[in-house]
């Protein structure tokens, strides 16, 4: 269960996320026990496993939404602790950033009554980032959503909403993307586009840990970590 293949890259000595000895029990069933994973800069990790193996649960534990039964997760370079207050912008020290992780899960995080621009703007503001209308329109254009920026998100198709959701990767300065099934509902060109984004991010020193039921068509080496299904 520990992925031990190493990839040659300029960055792999920088450890971004270190999880040791994680156990997860859901509905009195042990999903995984004593699982460890490390994410280094410049790595593209594909987490695979059958349905129900616990991939989503693992990602949620890594990000902090769920508590594991045992074990812990350490995220390096976090500038603030999780219980930081909303007020005050501390001067960040040299290597620390506010958000070392970006998590985009199954749920899109888009309110159906707000337009794409509004959804993105509020999401960015919630993270303390001011946004410019023009920037957001340009961003949505890159994601092939011209003309749909002001439509309430509930009226967009599933694939279009997924693209709005993934546009958030471009709004936050971060080290690691944790993506749960990002290709859901996307058409072929959408999948290729997102894969390109991921590859560009990894090539520049970012790290991506993602799940997908399809094999990744990446131009970079992909490290595969398998989560087995336990009875």
């Amino acid at each position: 269960m520990n992925g031990k293949t190493s990839i040659t890259s300029n960055y792999t000595d920088i450890l971004r996320l270190n999880a040791q000895g994680l156990s997860c029990i859901k509905q009195d069933r042990i999903l995984f026990e004593d699982f460890s994973i490390q994410v280094h800069a410049g790595e593209l990790i594909h987490l695979v496993g059958p349905n129900g193996a616990g991939k989503t649960s693992l990602l949620r534990i890594l990000v902090g939404l769920s508590e594991p039964e045992t074990g812990g997760v350490i995220v390096t370079d976090a500038a603030r602790s999780e219980t930081a207050s909303f007020s005050g912008t501390e001067t960040p020290s040299e290597n620390k950033i506010d958000y070392p992780l970006l998590y985009l899960g199954h749920k899109l995080g888009l309110n159906q009554y707000l337009s794409s621009v509004e959804n993105l703007a509020y999401w960015a503001n919630m993270h303390g980032i001011a946004t410019d209308q023009h920037e957001l329109y340009a961003l949505l254009a890159r994601f092939n959503l011209v003309g749909l920026e002001d439509v309430p998100s509930g009226q967009l198709s599933a694939g279009q909403q997924r693209r709005v959701s993934l546009a958030r990767t471009q709004l936050l300065h971060t080290h690691v993307w944790i993506l749960d099934e990002p290709f859901t509902s996307l058409d072929v060109s959408g999948v290729a586009f997102i894969q390109d984004l991921v590859d560009d991010f990894v090539a520049q020193g970012g790290a991506v840990l993602m799940t997908s039921h399809q094999a990744l068509q990446s131009r970079l080496p992909v490290k595969t970590v398998t989560l087995e299904y336990r009875l």
Binding site: I25, K26, Q27, D28, E67
Partner: protein
């Protein structure tokens, strides 16, 4: 300070502890209830004011007092679960809940039965009965919330939060309901004042209370054992235990 308690976070140890303590609680319950009820219902002197109907206090008062303490015990178990994340704490909490709920129901039923000869009606909205009714709803709420979740750990956490909200509210509810209606007679047992009932009536009452405590302990432990077995069915120690009992 609580090091002696920590081993019982493991369900196997908790199960063993229940087995050890169960006989003591059972004996206390049987002896206490038999002695208390027979003495109180048959031998205690007749009350000059209420006649023989007052004898129902030997069932009503223990159940009323203990229904509240049981809720507090349930809330404490929930609190322990939330702070230390012990599965056995959540299991204890939900093992206590139905016992407390039935106890509250008994107190309501006997309180109403006591009311008939005293006030001439089967139900009256006095402070104590109303507060007991609300307590009954609080118990049902915790049980309903627990039952609504399929993941029992999440169920335990949610029910524990609701139990804590309830326990904070119990003094407020009591004060407000009492203030709302002061028809019920004052407390017959106070800690520091002279009790306003005769000693010959008091003793069987105290013994009944002790017996009821034993009953609660017995039932909770039996319930807790079942909870543990049901949820830990896949563990080797449970399988070994079941095989052993099958061989007998």
């Amino acid at each position: 300070m609580f090091n002696w308690l920590h081993p019982y976070a493991k369900t196997e140890r908790a199960y063993a502890l229940c087995n050890t303590l169960l006989p003591y609680f059972f004996v206390t319950a049987v002896v206490g209830l038999l002695v208390g009820f027979i003495w109180g219902l048959a031998f205690a002197p007749t009350d000059y004011q209420q006649g023989d109907s007052f004898r129902i206090i030997y069932i009503h008062v223990p159940s009323a007092i203990l229904s509240m303490s049981t809720y507090v015990a349930m809330a404490i178990a929930g609190f322990v679960g939330l702070v230390w994340q012990w599965k056995t704490a959540y299991m204890s909490m939900i093992a206590i809940a139905p016992v407390g709920a039935v106890l509250t129901f008994i107190s309501l039923f006997t309180g109403a039965a006591w009311g008939k000869p005293m006030w001439g009606t089967w139900w009256i909205w006095d402070a104590r009965l109303t507060a007991q009714l609300i307590l009954f709803f609080l118990y049902l709420g915790v049980m309903a919330l627990y039952g609504a979740f399929s993941d029992k750990t999440q169920a335990g956490k949610s029910a524990a939060i609701m139990a804590l909200v309830g326990v904070i509210n119990i003094p407020i509810i009591h004060y407000s309901v009492e203030w709302w209606n002061t028809l019920h007679q004052g407390a017959t047992i106070t800690k520091f004042g002279k009790p306003s009932i005769a000693l010959s009536m008091l003793w069987p009452l105290l013994i009944s209370i002790v017996g009821t405590v034993g009953l609660i302990g017995t039932l909770v432990m039996m319930n807790l054992k079942n909870q543990i077995l049901r949820r830990e069915l896949h563990r080797p120690w449970v399988i070994a235990l079941l095989q052993k009992t099958e061989q007998r």
